[in-house]
Subunit: 225 residues, 2 copies
DNA sequence: TTTTTTTAAGGTTGATTTAAGGTTGACCCT
DNA sequence: AGGGTCAACCTTAAATCAACCTTAAAAAAA
């Protein structure tokens, strides 16, 4: 679970990081433009967005995102308490709202509720797909009783696929998520890893479940065909 | 959209009804047990739940519901302002929280955000024409229960036609939309794709619905002949 | 060293485009 | 009305092209 914090108050931002680090991998942006740029990568599970920001305010960031059909859940954060702000925030597409100062526990709970609502699961130690079990913590995979050896990025890919089963993931998304959007390696690595992953799953007949959609991306699916 | 309001203050309950009646069909319950009974029917899209209630408090109602795997989104409502209440509410599975007194507009916006999150969005990912369903996200088509395989541009064409059913689309429009107006391929591809699409729909008797208007363009229509 | 990651190259598949010949229907002429 | 002509459209199949797969070797990391 990746969380983007767009907040110019470094002290507050760090403190949020600290608060959530059990459940999320946080990333920080300290002004509006930087935040928008990062959010546009569309690789985060939740975004915490302050309203008063240098270079571009929170509303603009959010509006911009929604215009691009990026639907990552957003929690707006502000010192202002007026209802007008709340209304504006929701109109632009925020999913929740938190008034500073807030209790850490409340933030955590709202984050959880948010992620739960949007179908995601909080960081679990074990995720499964049919008879395939991934232990996120030790990065081990088990299938039909046997232990399956997967190296780092292959594991990450499989994890990402399982967490988004029955949804198409574009090569861009996969690349941005696993290699990082600023990585300068070529996007064809994704194909190579898809290939390797399939090879490893073939033994168990699970390679079929990774479907490629030409021009669109990949999907892990369990509904037959 | 059906909304259940579980709130013992009749005046407040009525006033909520009034506020939301544009967007929801509200139903009222005035104590915990009645509310639980109604909620158990699992026919509502959202529930507004007060905490202080006769016969059974809001936490118990919610806990009970979740235990039965009823996941209707719930907004908790209370006069208490302490963080402890919020925590308890979220722990039991509330999806949002509102402190009395609240602005009507805020309630409305939270309701909208809630519904949007819990599948309101999903509906926009699917468009239909008679028994034909297109899932825009997965780019899959389903007709009369069967899955229909369409390649990229065929799918795009069908999507465009469905979104403009009962309106004539010129070949230029179709071409510009799907191939891009700067494309240097010949406009006759549109005919080829119309042909292929019809061939694929023929099996289900849906080819007739794509009518060509000589000199004008194509139209997808569902009113007979 | 051993393992993992990245690059490079050639092969495969299937979508897209072109081309060619066949239909259809509008319009004109006698 | 009937027949001829033509342009628009349909259909098919072959040619082309881009996306993707696979493999193996090179580079980097452990």
């Amino acid at each position: 679970m990746r969380l983007l914090i767009i907040e110019d108050d470094k002290y507050l931002s760090d403190s949020i990081c600290e608060t959530v680090k059990e459940l999320f991998e946080p990333e920080q942006a300290f002004d509006g433009e930087e935040g928008l740029f990062l959010a546009e990568q569309n690789i985060f599970d939740v975004i915490i967005l302050d309203i008063m920001l240098p270079s571009m305010n929170g509303y603009e960031v959010l509006q911009n995102l929604r215009k691009q059909n990026i639907t990552t859940p957003v929690i707006m954060l502000t010192a202002k308490d007026g209802i007008d702000d709340k209304i504006q925030g929701f109109k632009v597409g925020a999913d929740d709202y938190l008034v500073k100062p807030f209790h850490r526990e409340e933030l955590l709970l709202r984050l959880e509720a948010m992620v739960r609502r949007s179908g995601g699961l909080l960081k679990e130690n074990v995720i499964t797909f049919k008879e395939l079990k991934l232990n996120i913590k030790n990065k081990t995979a088990e299938i039909q009783g046997e232990i399956l050896k997967l190296n780092g990025k292959q594991f990450d890919l499989l994890e990402y696929l399982i967490n988004n089963k029955n949804a198409i993931l574009t090569k861009e998304q996969i690349f941005d998520r696993i290699w990082g959007f600023e990585s300068d390696t070529s996007m064809t690595v994704v194909e190579v890893y898809a290939s390797n992953l399939r090879k490893n799953l073939k033994k168990y007949g699970y390679d079929h479940y990774i479907k490629t959609f030409r021009g669109l991306g990949y999907m892990l699916t369990d509904n037959g065909e």
